[in-house]
């Protein structure tokens, strides 16, 4: 039998998360290169409909692991319910999205299976027949090529790095549901609380001016406010770092743990370009980065890069704007 590449599905409220289809797309690509069979694993309590949907869309075999203790994610319960099944399946690779669930679960499984664990994979590279996984370090300033030193590897896939899986024609796939009554002993998930953050709908804005730690002091926020005024429908966004410092409320935060936005124009001011931030704004139509560090990785995402100190650049820009509007 062909060796397997397994994908663990992430879902919430009976809905498969879009990042799962990106991990599936990654697994298809790696599977094709290495001649591995894709198999899909989904854990939960009411998973039948999702399992069927996955089988149809991937044309692969879907194993559902069902139990009352799996109603919502719990690292200990998920690990307990899945490791024996994974030992039997013996996949060479186990993949899942790099989310708070993914990076919680991946090392638990890797430890048990004596597997390597590579997180936040964004590219596959083949060198002299060896598979390497590329991931970012130093807020995206460097790329590292990682190689598993073991027979098996558990990988988490960076959201946004692979396209969503197309519907797979041909085979209809198949579903097999296994029941488990594994109960966690040392930890218990009680509930999922919805975001407590006040709602600020960044999604409606045409233009977002975002502040990062690089604005250096809250007093400089007024520069961004002035800049925002030159655009009709604009709001202030921010990086998590600027929120953590108390400069802006969390309702302004953009990124994986904040809001996902795709305005027509996004201006990142003093933001380094960490993957967790980029994930939340890469869908913007035009991206401008203002950063004093020419190596900042925000420039890899930007359409226009401006290497300047924003404390002097934004005032100059505002001054030029006044000339511009007087003359036009």
């Amino acid at each position: 039998m062909k060796r397997q590449i397994a994908v663990i599905v992430e879902h919430t409220g009976n809905r498969i998360l879009p990042v799962t289809y990106e991990s599936l797309s990654f697994a298809m690509e790696l599977g094709e290169r290495l001649g591995l069979n894709l198999s899909v694993l989904i854990l939960g309590n009411s998973i039948e409909a999702m399992a069927k949907q996955l089988a149809e869309r991937t044309g692969s075999h879907v194993t559902g692991i069902k139990g009352a203790q799996l109603e919502s994610y719990n690292g200990e319960a998920y690990k307990g319910a899945i490791v024996e099944i994974l030992e039997a399946f013996d996949p060479s690779y186990i993949c899942m999205p790099h989310t708070a669930t993914g990076f919680d679960l991946a090392p638990r499984i890797a430890f048990f299976l004596n597997a390597s664990c590579v997180t936040s994979v964004e590219k596959i590279r083949v060198r002299e027949g060896n598979i390497r996984f590329i991931r970012s370090m130093f807020n995206g300033k460097l790329h590292a090529e990682m190689a598993p030193a073991t027979a098996k590897a558990v990988l988490t896939i960076l959201p946004g790095a692979w396209p969503s899986l197309e519907i797979h024609p041909g085979s209809k796939g198949s579903v097999h549901i296994i029941r488990t009554n594994f109960s966690p002993i040392a930890s218990q998930t009680l509930e999922i609380k919805e975001s407590r953050k006040e709602k600020l709908n960044l999604g409606d804005a045409d233009v977002i001016i975002s502040a990062g730690r690089g604005i250096r002091k809250p007093a400089n926020l007024h520069l961004l406010e002035e800049l925002a005024k030159i655009f009709p429908k604009s709001v202030l966004g921010s990086s998590k770092a600027a929120c953590d410092l108390g400069w802006l409320g969390y309702q302004h935060q953009i990124g994986i743990t904040g809001q996902t936005v795709s305005p027509r124009l996004y201006i990142a001011c003093g933001i380094s370009g960490a993957v967790q931030h980029i994930s939340g704004m890469r869908g913007s139509q035009t991206i401008i980065g203002i950063n004093s560090d020419p190596d900042a990785s925000i420039f890899n995402a930007a359409d226009y890069g401006i290497v300047e100190d924003l404390e002097t650049f934004i005032p100059t820009l505002l001054e030029e704007f006044r000339h511009f509007s007087e003359s036009s």
Binding site: G75, P107, F111, L142, A144, E145, A186, T189, Y250
Partner: protein, 261 residues
Amino acid sequence: MKLLVCVKQVPDSEGHLSINQEGSWVTYEGKTAFRMNRFDEFAIEEALLIRDHISHDKQTSINAVSVGPPRTSLTLKKAMAMGADEGIHILWDQNLYMSPFDTASLIASYAKDKAYDMILTGVMAEDDMHCLVGQFIAEILGYPCATSVIHQEIINGGSQLSVEREIESGRRECLRLNLPAVLTIQSGINTPRYPSLSNVIRARDQKIITMDAENLQTLKKREELVSLSYPEPSSKGFFLDGTQREKAQTLLRILHEKSFI
């Protein structure tokens, strides 16, 4: 209660990073500034808040541990200046990459017979960005673990923890853990304090316990970093050039052409 906080020293990554000749890691030049990983500042602060909260327990102690070359001792001093009682330096005198599994294996080997009630780490190291070390320590020691923790509270007379972890879109997962446990702390959980002058002076005289990484038992290697490279510059973007004023003018022209203004 005995608390252990893992702190990592990281380079301040504003500015250019040079890759060494072998392409295996970064060479830090004399001017590189090092500091405590920011997520670990939140972990230290959280430990200090726990100690304040259970001040009736006079036995509460906070140890800070770090794996790294000699310069790492400065980061341990900072942890002590913030208020940690003791610094433990697992000395690994090489400027090379260490995998998260190896780091965790060293810290777990140190911690295993010390009866810590809680081990705190940051959710992520700003340099290598794995989000793994805390979970691996928990697995090696067989402790329960919660990642990306944004709130914690000791409950049931000190036998359990009530925890909230931050997941996507700002939602929170609430769980309960038995102690001993490992928590990986997310930024924003608190406001890390600046060391007070008296604490800085006290920390200056405090000794750091140093042990050689080679004398600790470690587990077999799991994954390797083969090489580092600079990301290919994006094909879509370009830099505006000229003086500051010229850049401002160019930008306004672009914004006008695209009918933003």
